[in-house]
Symmetry: C2
Subunit: 241 residues, 2 copies
C-alpha cells in the first residue's frame, strides 16, 4: 500500500452525502469521517455544498488547505483525466456528490471509469441511497430490480417506457424504480394511478432518511382514491405487482 | 407517533448487517446501534448470526430478554403474518439478514410486503450493499442499472440471459449486475471472458468492505489474459460497454 504524509492510501474514495439535513451520524459510518479528514484533494459536484458537507463532518477541517475541482454537467470530458493527477503523486482523492452516493444517478461515474482504466484503486464508502433504502422498504422483489433514472418527458416515449416496465414486472418479476422532478410528483402519481392496471403496486418513498420520511406501498386503485401531497418533496417511485 | 416503554416508534426496522468481519463502525451509522438497543423483537434470517450481530453492536445487549423468529427459505408463507404481532401491540420489530441489507437478494421482502399491506410503518436503515458499492466503484452507468440475482445454471437459459443482458447494455445503456456461488467465481469469469465481445467491460468486485476488497474493471479481452483467483471469495459481477 502506497501511503502519503497524511497516512492514507492513494485511492479514489467515493464519499456518500446525507440525503437530507441532520447529523451525519444518522446516515454515515464513523470511518467515513475518519477518512475524509485525511483527504486533501476533492472532486465535487458542487463546491458550496461540498464545503458545507466537510464542515458537517468535522468543523475543525481547514477548508483552505484543500484543493477542489468541480465535476458536473458543465464539465467538458477532456477536463476530467487531469483531475486524477494527485493519484499519480501518491495522494488520495475524494469524490463528493450533492446528495446520496457518488456515481449513482450522478456525474461521478465518468471519473471513476477513468480511474479504473488507469488502474487506480477505487474505494466506495457506505452511505444513504434512496434507491436501495426504498427497495428494502417497498416489500417488492429485491432479487431482481432495475433503476431507470427519470421517465421520458415526451408523451410517446413515456408511454412506451411505462409499457416496457410493466412487461418486465410481469415477465421477469423485476421491480422497476424511477425518479421525477419533485414539483411534478403529484402529477406523476395521478398519471400512474389512472393509466396503470388497478392491481399494480406503486411505492412512493419520500424524504428518505429525513424527518418526514414516508415509504408507502399501495395498489394503483388505492392511490387513485388516496389523499396525498408530495409537491416539491424529493421522492422515488417503485412499481411491482 | 406511537411509542412504547422502550421509547421507540412501533415500526418494522430493517437493519443492514456487515458484509465481512470487522468493526460495525466501518459500515454502519451510529444511529443503527442506538435503535437496535431499543428493539425487543426480531425477525432474523439465521438465529446464530443474528445473535452474533447483536453482540457485535453492543456487548451489553441482554440477548435472553429478546424474542426471535426465523424467516428464511424454510419458512412457510402462512407463518409470516403472525411475525408482525408485536407491531399490533405497539412494539417495534427489527429485521436482520445474514449479511447486507434485508429484503435485497434476501427473504425479508415477504414480511415487508405484509407490513406495507397492513399499513405498518417500515423504516430502512443505512448500511453496506455490495450491489450499490460495486456500481459506484465500477465506473459503469449509475443512471440506469439492473440487478439480476444469480445467472441461470441451465446452459440454454444462461446463454439466453447473457444475450438479453448484452442487448440491454447496448440498446439501453443499462449496467447489468449479477452474482454467483463463490466457488464458481473463476469459472464464471473465464466463461464471460471467452464468450462475450472482447471490448465488453466486466467489473469484478470481491470481499466488499473487507480487508481484501478488490474492485477491478477490465475489458473481457483483458480478463482473458489476466491472472486472478476469486475462488470462494464473495464477489459480484457487473457488465457494461
Amino acid at each position: 500500500m502506497e501511503k502519503n504524509t497524511n497516512n492514507i492510501e492513494a485511492a479514489l474514495y467515493l464519499f456518500p452525502v446525507p440525503l437530507s439535513d441532520g447529523a451525519t451520524d444518522n446516515v454515515l459510518p464513523n470511518v467515513n469521517i475518519e477518512i475524509i479528514r485525511r483527504v486533501k484533494h476533492f472532486i465535487v459536484e458542487n463546491l458550496r455544498s461540498a464545503r458545507r458537507f466537510l464542515k458537517l463532518c468535522d468543523r475543525s477541517i481547514d477548508i483552505n488547505s484543500l484543493t477542489f475541482v468541480e465535476l458536473n454537467r458543465h464539465t467538458r470530458s477532456e477536463e476530467i483525466p487531469s483531475m486524477l493527477d494527485p493519484l499519480t503523486q501518491g495522494e488520495a482523492i475524494g469524490v463528493i456528490s450533492e446528495a446520496g452516493c457518488p456515481a449513482i444517478a450522478d456525474p461521478g461515474a465518468d471519473v471513476v471509469a477513468i480511474a479504473q482504466r488507469r488502474g487506480f484503486k477505487v474505494i466506495p464508502l457506505v452511505g444513504p441511497s434512496s434507491i436501495l433504502l426504498s427497495i428494502m422498504a417497498s416489500g417488492f422483489n429485491g432479487q431482481s430490480f432495475a433503476f431507470n433514472g427519470y421517465l421520458p418527458i415526451d408523451k410517446e416515449a413515456r408511454t412506451k417506457k411505462l409499457k416496457i416496465m410493466q412487461q418486465r414486472i410481469s415477465q421477469e418479476r423485476q421491480t422497476q424504480i424511477f425518479i421525477e422532478t419533485p414539483y411534478r410528483n403529484n402529477k406523476l402519481i395521478a398519471e400512474l394511478a389512472s393509466t396503470l392496471p388497478g392491481n399494480m403496486l406503486l411505492c412512493v418513498a419520500s424524504d428518505i432518511t429525513g424527518e418526514q420520511q414516508s415509504i408507502i406501498t399501495r395498489s394503483c386503485s388505492d392511490w387513485k382514491k388516496a389523499k396525498y401531497n408530495y409537491d416539491k418533496i424529493p421522492a422515488i417511485f417503485l412499481l411491482f405487482s
